[in-house]
Amino acid sequence: MSKALDMITRVRGVRGAMLVSAEDGLVVAEQLMEGIKGGAVAALAASLAGRLRRAMDAAGTGTSVFWHLQAEQGALLVVPGSEAAGSLLVVAVTEPDVNIGLVRLELLRVAETAV
């Protein structure tokens, strides 16, 4: 699990990577830089994922396979795992100027292989 998260955190600008239980909003595994509160990231990412899922269901765009919250001082990137994987989220917290495409690929890879 930790090796899988390594794939994400080695991308320049990534400050932390986690596996989060989507239903409970609890940390399953984490690899975080100093100062990042894993519990808060897990709870808030899961809550936002739930609200986004309802909006996307209503819009008819289907379940999200990747989402990205952009903010002034950083970003939150999330790939929801499959239902079969017990509804886990693969989450990355990044600097604002990170290579989003690269982080997205690593998140998808972790979701496919480790989750």
Binding site: E23, D24, G25, L26, G39, A40, A42, A43, L44, S47
Partner: protein
Amino acid sequence: MSPHTRAVENWTLQPLTDFVREASARLVLVLTPSGQVLAQSGFSRAVDVMSAAALASAIVASTNELARQLRQAPFAALSHQGPKTGFFLATFVTDRGTLAVLAVYDLDVSSLGLVQLFYEQLAADLKAASPKGAVPKQVLAADFERELTDSLNTLFGR
């Protein structure tokens, strides 16, 4: 009609109001381990508060005893989750003595993670707001019923 959030001891009101809003908790009690309620949110009937407080107090007592028998520190928190609703019970120490928080939340608007996250803030806020140097009041058996009635009247705005 259910009052929103009410407190017997006013210093608990703001931290509890913030917690209820942030964690989207449906029902919350702040109580002492002996079952004396300091504040409540979301309850519509006094009898429900009494039952919940008695049950929460009993759970705190039994888990403390389990921890004692296992020769370890008391459990920090306890959580149960059903298909639609979860509850969370935890204790912490303030200048007012040990306090317990019982929170009930609906899984479609909240989660254990959110409740835990904002519980940490609630415990910190209550610790900061609790009256300094206060000696926890002993409730005598003779005064118990009057104390209980007074508390319930305050909690339901009567």
